[in-house]
Amino acid sequence: MNILIAFYSRTGYTKELALLIAEELMARGHEVELERIEPLEDENMWPLLWRTQWYWGALALGILSNKYREYFINNYRIPEVEIRSLVHQDVSSFDRICIGCGKQTIVPCAIESYLRIVDGLKGKKVGAFATWAGPPLKHFEVEHLFRPIADRLERRGASLVSILGLSSRYHEYHGQMLGIFEFLSRVRFGKPISYFGVHSEYGRKNMKLFLDELIKGSTDVKESRGWRRSFQGTGIRGVASASLWTTLGPLRHEFKKRFLERYR
């Protein structure tokens, strides 16, 4: 198979994962082409954070309400940056496409630009891989990054068939953030972040699974992850239900816990 690996790497960790994937694919007898996605201007990490800072408050709200989180993921706009011209502008000649990036709170702006300008995506099976600092948290990491990518691919006529997210154990914003992720990893999974690393047993196993699914191309990630059900963000019913669940969702759980279960 002829496979394109397009990756955007700021600090080098995604580049390393792209290389490992390319080597594994070549070992399996596939032809691999590479595409480096580069913004025209390299940015300091702080402006990157400020650009997405608006979302932090919304993310906090998303922790309180699943409905709001769905609404937020379906409706937020990802800013774009100007990227360098592509070597493979038309990807229609490739059998499979792999898109790799790091997670920058949301989908990186360069990937948003790439998914908009690249040609020939219609009917393609795409795999997406990423590196992030922490463990593969179901909503904060996996859903926030891969669901918008799946949506954008679907709009271009392609489908996301395989995903891979591994920990780089590196965070640009100082040690305290890594400490928070280390804590979350031990609380949620009972394992250190290094367990989910690129070179760990978990990483190797999941990379093989990722490539198997990519080559097979029969899995629909949106379907298998339950992302197909979309929240209706417009209309009275949608707004009313979002408003209601945003405010009453946590109260409902509290009410159930305190009253209903007592009389059961």
């Binding site: 080098g12 595409e35 932090w56 408050g57 709200l61 360098r84 100082h174 040690g175 209309g235 405010t247």
Partner: protein
């Protein structure tokens, strides 16, 4: 996009990664907040902004979801209900005035009304159009979806019609029965005039006045379609019931799918 680039091979990438592995970036300690001038400036600004966004964004989002959007949605719904009432109860006198103006459009007050009538119809699109577009969930890239405006008019007035062609770039609607053609019936949801001749009133019907549909109605539909997508339009009508045809034909086209002039003979 900027400069063109050379192809990146796996060997080149391997060399790059080997170089990078020798000096891979390490997570900085908290001390760099104070020692590195860039981090000091960036971190200070972040620490100032972050608490504000953590508090303000949920407030703004909740205000939007709980207050602004429900109020706007309610407002749009009220406007759509109002538009339905206006169409339902004023269509008959308006058509009567329109036909009266068409029949004497060459002179006097009828000439003035004839020239002002499209402007009045345009005004209704300006006032009710945005709410109707939202209520009918019209997709600006789909012309069949834009045609649901006509479905709404037909449902409100009791006109019967079907879509004989439905595509995103071309749609054709045939209207097979219209209360204003053979018999201007009272606008009654039971359509009594269709079955009971005693309800019929031929004084206000558009029979013998096809210009009402081919000029005013088509202009009105085109006004609405332009507000959805400037590329959409209704072609000049080839079949009209007031002319004695079996049905009225509305052909919705985009600039790309428009028929050539020789095909269309209004």
């Amino acid at each position: 996009m900027g400069n063109s680039r050379d192809r990146l091979t796996v060997d080149e990438l391997r060399k790059e990664v080997e170089e990078w592995r020798k000096n891979r970036p390490k997570t900085k300690s908290f001390i760099s907040f104070f020692s590195d001038p860039v981090d000091r400036a960036g971190g200070a600004r972040t620490l100032l902004i972050l608490p504000a966004t953590m508090v303000m964004v949920p407030i703004i989002e909740l205000t939007n979801l709980l207050l602004i959007r429900p109020v706007l949605a309610t407002l749009h719904t009220i406007i759509v209900i109002l538009a339905t009432f206006v169409l339902r109860f004023f269509a008959r006198p308006l058509i009567r005035i329109g036909c009266w103006a068409i029949r004497g459009k060459d002179k006097g007050i009828r000439k003035s009304i004839y020239s002002m009538y499209p402007g009045f119809l345009h005004l209704t699109v300006v006032v009710f159009g945005p709410s109707l577009r939202r209520y009918l969930r019209i997709d600006p890239s789909d012309i069949r979806s834009a045609g649901s405006f006509q479905e709404w008019i037909d449902d409100t007035l009791g006109v019967e019609g079907i879509w004989v062609e439905s595509d995103v770039s071309r749609a054709v609607r045939h209207e097979t029965w219209c209360p204003f053609v053979d018999h201007g019936i009272p606008l009654d949801p039971t359509c009594k005039g269709k079955y009971d001749p005693s309800y019929r009133d031929n004084t206000s019907c558009v029979k013998g006045c096809p210009e009402y549909c081919s000029v005013f109605m088509r202009g009105w539909l085109n006004d609405f379609l332009k507000s959805v997508n400037p590329e959409f339009e209704v072609e000049p009508m080839r079949h009209l019931m007031p002319n004695g045809d079996e049905y009225c034909e509305m052909v919705y086209v985009t600039k790309r799918t428009r028929s050539t002039d020789s095909e269309v003979k209004p």
